[in-house]
């Protein structure tokens, strides 16, 4: 029996699905046609035309999918799962974009969209490279398009479809409401679940598209590298890929920094970077990308790092896939606050990633026999993995195999320049710099991948193997620490931020130092004396200034202090040396200054991050609390309690909590807490400086979201956020209402705290003045006697009574009007003598208070300024590369 459901906008899903299938098949066709084109000795135009047309159809279909999805969001078709899940009626339309890419399907769509845009540009401009590059491009599109298909091949679920109706979701199959033709009348379908309040922020409308454009742009150099390997042009692809690489570095960098800006503005961890797995997953490809771009520059002049270039270009793209896997597979569950939910796609993502690893490495091996061996063993592993189900073990073996063959392939078959190179050359140190970047990204990705490592190690035979090694090591060296690793229980560092800062400040300092002197080196050979003379000024300036700054850095951790001072010196050295270079050699011209400006920006970012972070000051020092119960080592006093009207000193300010107010209009969900910052004048009077309004977005369904508020000065930011607050907006108003009763338990002599008093249970008795309560002797009754102490130590007695009549408990409540308290004693546990009671208080009782943290970030504007400088420098560098590329084409 088929039911004809009423009110569904099924045409939208139908149209969307047509576009989905079209985009998938067109991508296959395009890839195949381009493959045939590039396999012919003479370019066959008819196949190339088919490839182009197919890619165009694919592009139109992707635009179509997006259009339909936007239309559905705009018109609130809540019968569709994606729409129901990510939007609701209340939400302002300006967040429609955030809704679009909140889900996995939407973000894949965004990624696909950028590939389409870049692909169309390449069709127009890549000339003789079009066929092989577009083969790779369309091929990747096939994989991405399949992520949205949502079809079953046997038991295999391929992709997750954004056009599924709620009633079609697997978990809803067979539910009774499915038999109602008019199920859309159910209240459930009247409104959607809504957008995660964290994403209701303007940064979230621009951060994801920028980041995904950055991710997408890693495909261009990758496609060129693959095309180069495939066509045996190991070298010339780089000139083509260079401008794209710098474009990608710029966009991806901007995207990452926007994420930092969002975190600084909308999240309450107190900073712009927390080394969260999700952040790391986007940083790591960027580091490798920067490395790849620089070794490409080396190769333009000397062919000494060809293999490294291939390696870094390919690994950048693979890392983007790996990041997607990490953040989308749910494997980070225990380590990240924002890890996304698994849609059952992790296996598929993993398989795609391994496929691209296999493809790239096969091409890199450059020897027929090795290629065949690698391919057949990989295939065997895949089959074994699928048949036995112990996937992780085979993935691990595949990884090892890949590594070993890569080393063999490089040593025996990869062309290398034989000539011994000079030490003082730009190419040599640029190569070293890229290597350091790669190592830095290895450190980050290794520690971010702990959950993945744990999973691999927990596989039986690997586990016992590693345990065996570990046993031996313990025997020989007493090497205990490896036990965590061997047991597959690696946990992230306790203080992750400090841990990553330690490592990365070292790497950053080395890179910045190289950035400082690298510019003055020449390709091939540099006369040593003038080189040193050129650097002297920057070196001395950086030395003096960093000495002054380092003097003010905190010294409680000696190692970090040394690293910080080193980083401070290197970043200043990088800034000064590049300014000097721009002045001396670039002659201040804009055309050639791209790299200098970008490097100055890089130095500024490091300096700003260092100073604002190391000299970050928590000014909300708590003074309350019982000092005896506070463990010295654990004591944390960064959060402070402020009652309405209180004025407390914080840093060089005095801070008053003015009270709460509800937002209006679009912001009606927000509750603002106004905190006034004052300064004491010589007359003893307070002068108003500024008011900050940290807020809470109230969201019953998805959890309340606390957002900080920051006052920006040029030289520092005052950052304030709430840690806890009672979110009842009526607190402090005078209407005599009682709050919802809170259940408490107490034994004799226990103390119960209320907002304005302490209640001590003195006694429990069955012998009391029953006449007062008109209780006959036959009824079992217990009276609890509490001593209520108010803030001034004044004592009032409260005596709620618990009775049992006809097997039913009947409490007799007692109130303390002076304290606005009501006690309701409803249970006695004869086993332990504990009683249970409800305590309610008058709302006026509850003091309006907040627990907040206030931080000062000094000179954080150096960081943001550095971002702008670096971005503009990279744009200039990119423009220069395009100009050179065009010049070359014109010369021909």
């Amino acid at each position: 029996m088929t039911i004809h459901y009423i009110g569904e906008h099924s045409w939208a899903g139908f149209l969307g699905n047509i576009f989905l299938v079209l985009s998938f098949t067109a991508a296959i066709l395009s890839s195949a046609a381009y493959f045939i084109t590039s396999s012919k000795p003479l370019e066959e135009l008819s196949w190339k035309r088919i490839g182009r047309i197919a890619f165009r159809i694919h592009s139109i279909s992707v635009a179509g999918i997006m259009g339909v999805l936007f239309l559905m969001l705009y018109n609130h078709y809540f019968e569709y799962q994606y729409i129901w899940q990510h939007s609701n009626l209340e939400m302002p339309m300006k967040y429609i974009f955030s809704c679009f890419w909140e889900g996995q399907e939407g973000s894949f769509l965004l990624w696909t969209f950028w590939h389409v845009v870049l692909g169309n540009i390449l069709i127009r401009y890549s000339k003789e490279w079009e066929a092989p590059v577009m083969t790779v491009f369309s091929f990747v599109q096939v994989f991405l398009a399949s992520m949205l298909l949502g079809i079953y091949v046997g038991n295999l679920h391929i992709g997750s479809n954004p056009f599924l109706l709620v009633r079609e979701m697997p978990e809803n199959l067979g539910l009774p409401w499915l038999t109602h033709a008019n199920y859309l009348e159910l209240p459930y379908f009247k409104d959607g679940r809504g957008l995660n309040p964290l994403l209701q922020n303007y940064w979230m409308t621009i951060h994801p598209p920028t980041l995904f454009l950055g991710f997408a742009s890693t495909l261009v150099p990758f496609a060129y590298a693959i095309a180069g390997l495939w066509k045996g042009k190991l070298d010339s692809w780089q000139t083509q890929a260079l401008p794209w690489t710098f474009f990608g570095i710029m966009i991806l960098g901007t995207g990452i920094l926007m994420g930092g800006a969002w975190a600084y503005e909308a999240l309450t961890f107190g900073g712009f970077w927390a080394w969260d797995p999700v952040e790391n997953a986007s940083l790591v490809p960027w580091l490798c990308f920067v490395g790849a771009g620089h070794v490409m520059l080396v190769n333009k002049n000397r062919k000494i790092s060809l293999f490294t270039t291939f390696f870094l270009t390919i690994i950048t793209f693979i890392l983007v896939l790996y990041s997607t896997f990490l953040t989308r597979s749910g494997i980070l569950g225990n380590t990240s606050v924002h890890a996304f939910t698994d849609l059952g796609m992790s296996g598929q993502l993993m398989l795609y990633m391994l496929f691209f690893v296999w493809m790239s490495v096969t091409l890199l091996l450059l020897n027929r026999r090795l290629k065949i061996a690698y391919t057949s063993i990989s295939f065997l592993l895949l089959c074994l993995g699928i048949m036995t189900g112990i996937k992780t073990a085979f993935v691990f073996t595949f990884g090892l195999l890949t590594l070993v063959l890569l080393i063999i392939g490089y040593r025996r078959y990869f062309p290398k320049e034989e000539k011994e190179e000079e030490l003082w050359t730009r190419e040599f140190w640029m190569f070293i710099g890229s290597l350091v970047l790669a190592i830095a990204s290895f450190q980050v990705i290794l520690y971010t991948s702990f959950p993945v490592l744990n999973k691999i190690i927990q596989v039986d035979f690997i586990h016992s193997f590693i345990q065996g090694i570990h046993g031996k090591l313990v025997q020989w060296f007493n090497f205990k620490g490896l036990a965590n690793f061997a047991s597959g229980n690696l946990a992230p560092e306790k203080n992750a931020i400090a841990f990553y800062n330690k490592w990365q400040s070292l790497f950053a300092a080395v890179v910045a130092f190289l950035v400082g002197f690298g510019q003055f080196l020449r390709y091939k050979n540099t006369p040593f004396k003038p080189f040193i003379r050129n650097l002297l000024l920057a070196f001395v300036l950086a030395g003096i200034l960093s000495g002054i700054i380092s003097y003010g850095l905190p010294r409680n951790n000696p190692l970090q202090f040394v690293l910080n001072s080193f980083l401070c010196f290197s970043s200043l050295f990088a800034i000064f040396a590049n300014i000097d270079y721009w002045r001396k050699i670039g002659k201040g011209k804009l055309g050639k200054s791209g790299s200098s400006i970008a490097h100055i920006g890089f130095g500024l970012i490091l300096l700003g991050a260092l100073v604002s972070n190391a000299k970050k000051e928590i000014i909300s020092r708590n003074i309350r609390g019982d000092l005896r119960t506070i463990d010295k080592e654990l004591s944390n006093s960064s959060n402070i309690l402020l009652s309405k009207g209180d004025t407390l000193p914080m840093g060089d300010y005095y801070v008053t909590y003015l009270g709460r107010r509800k937002g209006e209009g679009e912001d009606k969900r927000n509750l603002y807490f106004d905190v006034e910052y004052l300064k004491k004048q010589e007359t003893g009077k307070y002068r108003h400086e500024f008011t900050l309004s940290p807020l809470v977005q109230r969201n019953e369904r998805m959890g309340n979201v606390f957002e900080p508020s920051t006052h920006h000065f040029i030289h520092r930011d005052i950052y304030t956020h709430l840690a806890t607050a009672d979110l009842d907006p009526s607190i402090g108003s005078d209407n005599g209402e009682y709050t919802t009763p809170v259940e408490k338990t107490a034994a004799r002599h226990d103390t119960i705290y209320t907002s304005n008093s302490m209640l001590i249970l003195d006694s429990l008795t069955t012998r009391f003045d029953r006449q007062r309560y008109r209780l006959p002797d036959s009824i079992l009754a217990v009276q609890a006697s509490f001593r209520a102490l108010d803030e001034n130590g004044k004592i009032v007695l409260v005596r709620p009574v618990f009775t049992i009549r006809n097997n039913e408990s009947k409490p007799i409540e007692d109130t303390v009007p002076s304290l606005g308290l009501r006690l309701n004693f409803f249970k006695v546990d004869p086993a332990n003598g504990k009683i249970s009671l409800y305590v309610s208080e008058q709302k006026t009782n509850k003091k309006d208070f907040i627990v907040m943290e206030a931080l000062i970030f000094p000179w954080i504007n150096i960081l943001w300024f550095g971002c702008l400088v670096m971005i503009s420098g990279t744009i200039l560098a990119m423009r220069e590369r395009i100009r050179k590329l065009k010049g070359k084409a014109d010369d021909k």
Binding site: E171, L175, P176, W177, Y183, L186, Y188, F189, R193, N196, I304, N334, T335, V337, T341, E420, E421, L423, I432, L435, I439, Q443, N454, F479, K480, G481, L482, A483, N484, F485, N489, L490, A491, P492, K494, W503, N622, R624, G625, D626, T629, I630, D631, L634, S635, N636, S637, N639, I640, L641, R701, G703, N704, F706, T724, E743, Y753, S755, F849, V851
Partner: protein, 127 residues
């Protein structure tokens, strides 16, 4: 051998050695029983909040102390003293990870990570 190779290999070996060596000092996921055995080191313990015992948080007394009871994956329960403010949406938590060390019978935590239930299955229409 060329210089690039030598320096490159030395650098890589050095860095990887250093990075790997810090694996030794990392903390691990454990249970209360294990944490009780070595009270010197920090552990990550995954468990569930015991709802029946409630929570204690009194910002008037100390805004940086939050107390609750947690059952670890072996079902052993201990009092957890978190030296920080009460985590947002703690009551809705499905799983809690606490980071810190045992002191006597109590677990002294400096950090927690609260996992709330998947947003996918709320409010399904039933009938």
């Amino acid at each position: 051998m060329k210089k690039t190779h030598i320096i490159g290999i030395i650098l890589i070996a050095l860095a990887i050695g250093l990075i790997m060596s810090s694996l030794v000092s990392t903390s691990k996921y454990a249970t209360f029983t294990e944490a009780s055995k070595s009270t010197e080191s920090d552990f990550h313990i995954v468990g569930k909040w015991d709802k029946d015992k409630g929570t204690e948080y009194d910002p008037q007394k100390d805004p940086n102390l939050f107390v609750f009871y947690m059952k670890d994956q072996e079902g052993i329960e201990h009092k957890v003293m978190l030296h920080n403010t009460k985590p947002q949406d703690f009551e809705k938590s499905e799983q809690v990870v606490v980071v810190g060390k045992m002191k006597g019978a109590d677990f002294q935590a400096s950090e927690t990570l609260v996992k709330c239930p998947s947003k996918y299955n709320d409010n399904k229409p039933v009938q």
